[in-house]
Symmetry: C2
Subunit: 218 residues, 2 copies
């Protein structure tokens, strides 16, 4: 994978800037479940995802979670380098959901590049705007979509990501994605089971009628 795959503005950089990005990047591997960035205790740097899948989530003061967005191959995580931009006043945590390979660009390197290069800075603007749009969508869901629709959407999306109708996920984990307590998830899943849309087993949720589940979204 080339760094130009991550930066559509690559050709607008000087060769010194290109080399700085390439040489400062540290290659890393993560196992499923590894926390690769914890915003409340560190400023890791820009994460460039080479392979695998990450989950970026927000943690409330009292320990509640909600998934903000997922990161896949060729995605960049900006908020793992929040110290670069002083107005970012919130922390996120990034966790590998699948075995992954990624690069880390140190925040001080990237900050200097933003300061000297308008193309880099404008591209960073686009990255932030894209995440902002994700979060606005999420806000709309949380505010105005009923929980049955949000849960149905989540199960169907997971089935696509995992390429399987049998999901290995706990009710607690789903609650952490959606920002709701486990009990609320369990109650709705049992209702889905009564309606014969899913089958609950020990440690797995099987989507038995995806069409019926999709009909909830309308």
């Amino acid at each position: 994978m080339n760094f130009s795959d991550f930066f559509p503005i690559w050709s607008k950089l000087t060769s010194a800037q290109q080399q700085l990005l390439e040489h400062s990047a540290v290659f890393r591997k993560a196992e499923k479940g590894d926390v690769v960035h914890n915003g409340s205790i560190q400023c890791t740097g820009l994460l460039l995802v080479g392979r695998g899948q990450f989950r970026a989530y927000f943690l409330s003061e009292d320990g509640r979670e909600i998934t903000l967005y997922r990161l896949f191959e060729r995605d960049i995580c900006l908020f793992s380098a929040a110290c670069m931009i002083s107005s970012i006043q919130f922390d996120i945590i990034v966790e590998a959901e699948k075995e992954a390979e990624y690069w880390v660009i140190p925040p001080e390197v990237y900050k200097d590049l933003m300061a000297e290069s308008a193309p880099i800075s404008n591209y960073t603007n686009e990255l932030m705007a894209s995440r902002f749009s994700d979060v606005m969508w999420l806000m709309e869901q949380v505010l105005w979509k009923s929980f049955d629709k949000r849960l149905a959407r989540f199960l169907l999306d997971e089935a696509v990501l995992e390429a399987s109708l049998t999901l290995k996920i706990t009710h607690e984990e789903i609650g952490n994605h959606l920002g709701n307590p486990r009990e609320v998830v369990t109650r709705m899943l049992r209702y889905f089971q009564t309606e014969e849309m899913v089958k609950l087993n020990r440690g797995t949720i099987e989507i038995t009628n995806p069409e019926k589940l999709e009909a909830i979204l309308d």
Copy 2:
């Protein structure tokens, strides 16, 4: 008011860039209630608030509102120029809450300045990050704070903004700020009245016991 008051990075601009900003800015006045930007139909430009107060809110597809942030003297509204940054995939509406004076910088002018000036682009990054932080705070409130706390917080904040314990605001308007239906607001206000924290009159809400209202926040 000088433009340098809006742009802390003013001294890093060339005099040609400074003049371009000053000469392209259009001065405008707004009356209370005027919609000065409607994201779904226009790309107004950057708003620089000289005097008064604005409310930036998000409108769902089915017409529900929630206030994202307020704009006061010396604030800049970036999302009224969303067309400048292609990854911004949501619309906001900006409405004057008090008689106001402001400047509009055309989006094409500002976009060109971002493209050529790293300081302008980085400052824009800071503006966006600051609003992003507001929205993350709001998300946390909406997800995990109970409605009594959110309403108490809103009434106390309004009393400060209006410098009065008697608020001229309808239950519907409060619902539009907080993203909840009017009935939910009315029910909670009646509970607050029963608890002798507020007194509801025709068209006004009087905060009769601010200390007790504040105690709800704990």
